[in-house]
């Protein structure tokens, strides 16, 4: 049994999560103007540097937009968000995605991996198939033995199986797209999130016998 390392969040991460939470919970709406960096720093008892860097992260994730003359506003993250935004949404919701988000992820999965399997099926070698079979054997070894292979490691192995299909599809971009969602699938590998991470992998990559 592995217990893993507990990693405490930084002050900047806490700041970002606080603002994300206010946006995702609806306490802040699209178009709302945020206080200045100085005001936020004073009110939240953090340094101006933390606020500045945190707002930069929030901007990159599409949660806010900065207008140099008018100030900082809550943005529509669906318009400008990235996979980081999806991670934030999943984290905020405690790992539980609503049906629409699950359906969207599954649709994306079929679009990306579907194209990879078409290409792989049409053009592959015996070595490609042998590689997948070897990976499958490793996954099998970890299935029923509680404590032999933790859920996070098993999730990683299953993700890698699907990544191998994309890598061997000979399309150089498909594996990059898949990898962009690795964090969503495995959720930064934080031990405390291991169960949640595994559930997310289940949602997206279907390591289940019902498929």
């Amino acid at each position: 049994m592995q217990f893993g390392v507990i990693v405490a969040p930084t002050v900047k991460e806490l700041f970002v999560e606080k603002i994300q939470g206010m946006i995702l919970s609806g306490r802040l709406s699209v178009g709302d103007r945020l206080p200045s960096e100085r005001e936020l720093a004073e009110e939240m008892k953090v340094s101006k540097t933390i606020v500045h860097l945190g707002l930069k992260d929030l901007g990159r994730m599409g949660f806010i937009r900065v207008n140099s003359r008018q100030g900082t506003f809550v943005a529509n993250y669906a318009e400008n968000g990235t996979y980081e935004t999806l991670n934030a949404i999943i984290k905020f919701s405690g790992g539980k995605l609503d049906q629409q988000n699950v359906a969207s992820l599954l649709e994306l999965r079929v679009a990306v991996e579907g194209q990879a399997v078409r290409r792989f099926a049409a053009d592959h070698t015996d070595e490609d198939i042998a590689c997948l079979k070897n990976m499958l054997e490793e996954i099998k070894e970890g299935l029923p033995k509680e404590g032999y292979l933790d859920r996070h490691e098993l999730a990683m192995k299953i993700f890698d199986f699907h990544l191998a299909i994309c890598l061997r599809s000979k399309n150089t971009i498909l594996p990059l797209v898949l990898n962009a969602f690795k964090d969503v699938s495995v959720f930064s590998g934080r031990p405390l999130c291991a169960c949640t991470a595994f559930r997310k992998v289940l949602l997206i990559w279907r390591p289940s016998s019902i498929f």
């Binding site: 049906q99 699950v102 359906a103 599954l106 649709e107 999965r109 079929v110 991996e113 579907g114 399997v117 078409r118 290409r119 792989f120 099926a121 049409a122 592959h124 198939i129 997948l132 079979k133 499958l136 996954i139 099998k140 299935l143 509680e146 859920r151 098993l154 299953i158 199986f161 299909i165 169960c195 595994f198 559930r199 289940l202 949602l203 279907r206 390591p207 289940s208 016998s209 019902i210 498929f211």
Partner: protein, 41 residues
């Protein structure tokens, strides 16, 4: 313990369909799996 897969049957299906060149069949299989999951979540 939720979600730990009971078998690797679906991954074996992946390999079978890929090795036999049935890419479209596999895409259909993935789509059906997604639909089944959504219907039962």
């Amino acid at each position: 313990m939720y979600g730990v897969p009971k078998s690797t049957a679906h991954l074996e299906t992946f390999i079978d369909l890929l090795s036999s060149g049935q890419g479209e069949e596999l895409v259909s299989y993935m789509t059906r799996g997604s639909e089944y999951y959504l219907a039962h979540m």
